[in-house]
């Protein structure tokens, strides 16, 4: 069983990347506990989506990009992957924004930290031993536990927190809906589906071991969502109560200092740095693999760059663009970060419908297609997400519509 566990938990861990931490901080800071009620639903959706990924990967032994190409033809593949590359670029930008923000807390200028991080990440994958690196990052991920600690240190009123979990509410205003979609988009980020499935396929998990893989998926998802909830609680108990408006994880970390102690602030910043670096390394790599997989271009990272031109071009371009956009005089890094998460929320329904289409393809999945009730739940999830994405689009074009 231990041999099988891994991809789900890792995916869930990487899930709380720079964009995620920012989103949860802002959600807690601006709206207090009032968005907590959606966490159980997000968890459910996350488990369903990750389970679909695991199922597709284990049964077919192929990556998601591969399956999309093989069963949906060139045109749809091009469309979906172009969207993915665009959204992933936005995500990469947000990871570097996370690097910049966390280092600024320690007084390091982004003009130093971001180029260094970009070069480091590039070399790491090109020259380094990825396996070791991944382990280092994973161990460092235990810093996430610090967020749970920060939550406690913030001394929330647990009665109030508990009540918030069971009190659904919904506000038709841009900020609220944006956060709503963004939370879903960042927790169930589309690129994670590609990454998780590739991991599973790479690990060569067999259909017979699928039952263990589900445990992996569920445990990983629960951990990810608990961490997310605690970030919201920590910021809700401190920043929101003081009436401070936060714009970013950096603001949140700084605001946490006087309210919950210096350690909470440092841990918060380190967690953000680790998450940002880890995702900045994986995201461009995962994107380049997906594109090359779909179009049949050489994608092994052998020492010869000329053998895998496209692969290296995409990989390098994502890092270079991602890092340089952050260095442009953008007013607020947070805007870039939140925008990328919102794009995730919009791409997600497309990927979900694609996955539902694939997973119900009997020719592909044999007897492992989804059961009827899982299908119903998955479709409801997809439909809710589509409605939310549409509302978000309308609100961003006509911000005053519901006022």
């Amino acid at each position: 069983m231990l041999a099988v566990v891994g991809p789900g938990i890792i995916t869930a861990n990487v899930d709380n990347d720079a964009g995620g931490i920012t989103t949860y901080s802002v959600a807690g800071g601006d709206y207090g506990y009032s968005l907590l009620w959606m966490m159980p639903f997000v968890l459910l959706a996350l488990i369903i989506v990750q389970e679909m990924c695991a199922r597709l990967g284990v049964v077919t032994g192929k990556g998601l990009a591969d399956l999309i190409r093989e069963s949906m033809g060139v045109r749809l593949t091009t469309l979906i992957l172009s969207l993915l590359v665009f959204v992933n670029l936005a995500n990469t930008v947000s990871e570097f924004a996370g690097v910049a923000a966390s280092m600024e807390i320690f007084g390091v200028s982004k003009f130093v930290s971001v180029p260094l991080a970009a070069i480091g990440v590039w070399l790491l994958v090109y020259k380094g031993d990825y396996k070791t690196t991944e382990r280092v990052f994973l161990i460092a991920s235990s810093i996430y536990l610090a967020y749970i600690a920060s939550g406690y240190l913030a001394h929330p009123d647990w009665g109030e927190v508990g009540k918030a979990f069971v009190t659904p509410n919904f506000k038709l205003e841009v900020g609220y809906v944006t956060l709503f979609v963004t939370i879903i988009g960042t927790t169930i980020a589309p690129w994670m589906q590609f990454y998780q499935q590739a991991s599973l396929v790479d690990k060569g998990i067999r259909v017979e071991d699928y039952k263990y893989e589900i445990v992996d998926v569920v445990v990983g998802s629960i951990f990810a969502v608990i961490v997310a909830a605690f970030i919201v609680i920590a910021c809700g108990a401190t920043i929101h109560k003081q009436g401070i408006m936060v714009e970013s994880a950096k603001d949140a970390a700084i605001a946490l200092g006087p309210l919950a102690g210096k350690y909470a602030q440092i841990l918060f910043a380190l967690g953000l740095l680790n998450a940002s670096l880890f995702s900045a390394a994986i995201l461009p790599l995962s994107t380049a693999y997906s594109v090359c997989e779909a179009f049949g271009w050489e994608s092994s990272l052998s020492s010869e760059v000329k053998d895998a031109k496209v692969f290296f071009t995409i990989y390098t371009a994502l890092i270079v663009l991602g890092a340089s956009i952050i260095l442009l005089p953008i007013k607020s890094l947070i805007q870039a970060m939140m925008a990328s998460q919102t794009l995730n929320g919009i791409l997600l329904p497309v990927i979900l419908i694609t996955m539902l289409h694939l997973i119900n393809n009997r020719q592909l999945m044999g007897k492992y297609t989804m059961s009827r009730w899982l299908n119903i739940v998955a479709w409801i999830t997809a439909i809710i997400l589509i409605i939310l994405a549409v509302i978000l689009l309308i609100l961003s074009i006509f911000p005053g519509l519901f006022r």
Partner: protein, 418 residues
């Protein structure tokens, strides 16, 4: 020559000019000696209704519209057989193995060629211009392909060199790919590295025992283990017997203790014994990388008699070129090359012609030491001895330099997760 993508979705019209549907599938199969599949039927789709039309009913197979020589009612639907290939469903957009270029590529399009009134699949198009054509950007695609010379386009693979890779559950590749079996095991190993584990396992399953063993030897132990996962123990044991003992030992060392014990018990005693011996040494020492399959002769026989002994032992040996001379207790006395033996007078005694000044390594010497000695003295293999100068095995040059000059496997960076 036209491409299959240019026909996809085109209307199929019967004798009365009625549109039966649009082309949604093309069936082909091999006929006689010709290695290229011949188109035998096309499928017309209208709404949710499909009909498989025998290709003999097609009057004109041209791009704007496909004309039939029958009326709709007269068509007797084609019954797909076991050997029919669904070109759009199972070949287009799928991965195939290019056995000539030794790599795994994705099919962007299929080129059709006409021979008299019959249509065959000539080439598989894996080029970027093929992708553009599929995207409907014909003009750009043509400009691309005109740059190259006529005839052989880069990215065009003749069907002769194509091996299909169908892991879709309902129709697995039942017959082992003949073209694959002809490849060098090292090439096969490289192809395996391009495939997912599951596809890799499927290919291995289709190989015969000997090819399978040879191919596995070219693969890194870690990858070997994942490829062997799920293979029945009996077969794994057979494969291990077939492999060189040192390679088999490396593989077993990667497995969990209890599974490797089980496998050793399933193996033939003789082979298992060799492997057990090797397993006792750490894998980065001479003892760990040596092989126990070599030729030994006693010192007191003649060159003529030695040839007879070699003929008997030679079958199993990994390196034929060196013949080691040992006494009855196994002490290493000398060595001679096959060349020296062949050129010697038949009646000469071995002890008179053998080389007594020997380069050896100790069982516990590192792999690095072995490589150094092999390189310094230009050897093909180096004998491994213990403190008492008893011969235990030989390290071949390729095993010695293995760690220093990485194979393609090592160059390949781990993918996303390991």
């Amino acid at each position: 020559m036209p491409y299959i993508s240019q026909f996809m979705g085109r209307p199929i019209v019967d004798l009365d000019g009625e549109v039966i549907g649009s082309l949604s599938e093309v069936l082909a199969h091999k006929v006689g000696e010709i290695s290229h599949p011949k188109i035998v039927a096309i499928e017309a789709k209208k709404g949710s209704h499909t009909i498989m039309i025998p290709f003999s009913d097609v009057a004109a197979f041209v791009i704007p519209a496909i004309a039939l020589n029958k009326r709709k009612k007269q068509i007797i639907p084609y019954e797909p057989g076991e050997h029919d290939l669904y070109l759009i469903r199972d070949v287009l957009d799928k991965q195939i193995i290019d056995t000539n270029g030794v790599r795994v590529v994705r099919v962007n399009d299929l080129e059709i060629t006409r021979v008299e009134n019959e249509f065959f699949i000539a080439n598989v198009d894996t080029s970027s211009s093929g992708l553009l054509r599929r995207l409907g950007l014909d003009a750009i695609s043509k400009r691309f392909s005109n740059k190259g010379k006529r005839g052989a386009q880069p990215g065009n693979i003749s069907w002769d060199d194509v091996e299909l890779l169908s892991t879709d559950q309902p129709m697995r590749l039942k017959v082992p790919g003949e073209k694959l079996a002809e490849l060098h095991p090292a090439d096969l190993a490289e192809i395996l590295s391009d495939l997912s584990r599951q596809e890799g396992r499927d290919i291995l399953e289709s190989l015969d025992l000997e090819t399978l063993a040879d191919t596995l030897e070219e693969v890194e132990p870690e990858f070997q283990v994942s490829l062997l996962e799920g293979m029945p123990d009996e077969r794994v044991a057979d494969v291990l017997e077939e492999m060189e003992p040192d390679e088999a030992a490396d593989l077993l060392a990667e497995l969990p203790k209890d599974r490797s014990q089980e496998l050793l018990e399933l193996m033939e005693d003789e082979e298992a014994q060799d492997v057990r011996k090797l397993l006792a040494y750490p894998d980065n020492t001479a003892g760990g990388i040596m092989t126990t399959e070599y030729i030994t002769i006693p010192p007191d026989i003649t060159a003529e008699q030695a040839m007879v002994v070699i003929r008997e032992q030679g079958e199993e040996a990994e390196v034929y070129y060196y013949i080691y001379v040992t006494d009855s207790a196994g002490h290493l006395l000398g060595v001679l090359s096959l060349r020296e033996l062949v050129l010697a007078q038949p009646k000469t005694k071995i002890s008179d012609i053998m080389v007594k000044r020997l380069v050896t390594v100790h069982l516990e010497d590192t792999q690095d030491d072995c490589a150094q000695s092999v390189a310094k003295y230009d050897l093909i293999a180096i004998p491994v001895v213990d403190d008492d100068n008893i011969l235990h095995g030989i390290v071949t040059a390729d095993d010695a330099i293995d760690k220093i000059i990485p194979t393609t496997w090592k160059k390949r960076l781990p993918r996303l997760y390991h």
